[in-house]
């Protein structure tokens, strides 16, 4: 697969195509200005996305596995939070029972001893 030298020569003539040196000074100032502006106006989601994007390559695990694990972790976290919201306070029964009768000590269940049930 030989390259046509005439085509290459013609394309090489574009190598010298550069703007004047002042452009690059202005370019740097503009870049710094944009950076500062961006720091002020960046949304939380964009910051989060960039942080995750910068963090992911550091972890030595295939990306697909990592994304899958994150998804499973997120789903688990949501379901645990949802489940814990349904659990009633264990003292609720005790308080309600105490309010409804004159009995002083009402326990919702039979008390469980910490001592071992085994007998020797």
């Amino acid at each position: 697969m030989e390259h046509d030298p005439r085509i290459s020569q013609l394309l090489q003539s574009r190598r010298g195509c550069q703007p004047p040196p002042e452009y690059f000074e202005t370019f740097l100032s503009e870049f710094q200005l944009r950076q500062r502006r961006e720091v002020i106006h960046r949304s939380m989601w964009r910051i989060l996305g960039d942080r995750i994007g910068a963090f992911l390559p550091v972890i030595p695990v295939p990306r697909l596995v990592l994304v899958g694990s994150c998804a499973v972790a997120a789903v688990s976290a949501v379901s645990i939070l949802d489940w814990s919201g349904d659990v009633t306070d264990p003292t609720t029964g005790l308080v309600q029972a105490a309010q409804g009768s004159n009995v002083q000590y009402v326990l919702p269940e039979r008390p469980v001893s910490y001592a071992s049930a085994r007998r020797f």
Binding site: L10, S13, Q18, F31, P57
Partner: protein
């Protein structure tokens, strides 16, 4: 006594540790070269300027993730080429073809003409015409082919470097170059013969 310029690795390391001025030094060092790359892909000054700002912005935001597996130069060029290709795809969706932009194209650019046409005026006129034709031919190439031609012929990068940047094999780079050159040759046939 000569003051030794800090290496790319040192500047990257300092940037990763929060020294924004080290990144400024990288911008100064790499912007002329990246300008050539992006300009020859977009063929438009304003687009090049905006895109370069975005490329350096992205590089700055992602530099903590740079682990030094490749050179900084390759890493930065990878960001630049992929962003330029995405930009060109979006630009093509916005308007039918880049040829609509012929008035603002590289062949009418005074900076470009000054850089390429130094010498005999008649030769300059021919060269201008040839460059115009070349530009039209380049615009007919796909973005991927144009990227390969820009990196190999204009920027003078080796095949292996281009392959790393585009994340393809060297064979793919060679075959894209071959195809692109053949396309250019077909378009420029009469000009080259004369």
């Amino acid at each position: 006594m000569e003051v030794q310029e800090p290496s790319d690795e040192e500047l990257v390391h300092r940037t990763q540790n929060g020294d924004a001025r080290a990144f400024d030094a990288l911008v100064v060092r790499f912007s002329p070269r990246l300008y050539g790359l992006v300009y020859n892909m977009t063929t438009n000054h304003e687009d090049t300027n905006d895109l370069l700002q975005e490329i350096f912005g992205k590089a700055y935001r992602s530099i903590r993730g740079f682990q030094g597996k490749s050179s900084f130069y390759t890493w930065l060029h990878t960001i630049a080429v992929h962003m330029a290709i995405n930009f060109l795809k979006k630009r093509n969706r916005r308007r039918t073809t880049s040829l609509d932009d012929a008035e603002n194209g590289i062949e009418n650019d005074p900076v470009f003409l000054e850089a390429t046409s130094q010498g005999d005026p008649s030769e300059s006129a021919n060269l201008g015409e040839l460059q115009k034709k070349l530009n039209e031919s380049l615009m007919k190439l796909s973005h991927e082919h144009r990227a390969v031609v820009t990196m190999f012929d204009i920027q003078g990068m080796p095949h292996a470097e281009i392959a790393k940047i585009l994340r393809v094999s060297e064979g793919t780079v060679r075959s894209r170059l071959f195809y692109a050159h053949r396309q250019l040759q077909n378009h420029l046939h009469e000009f080259i013969q004369s």
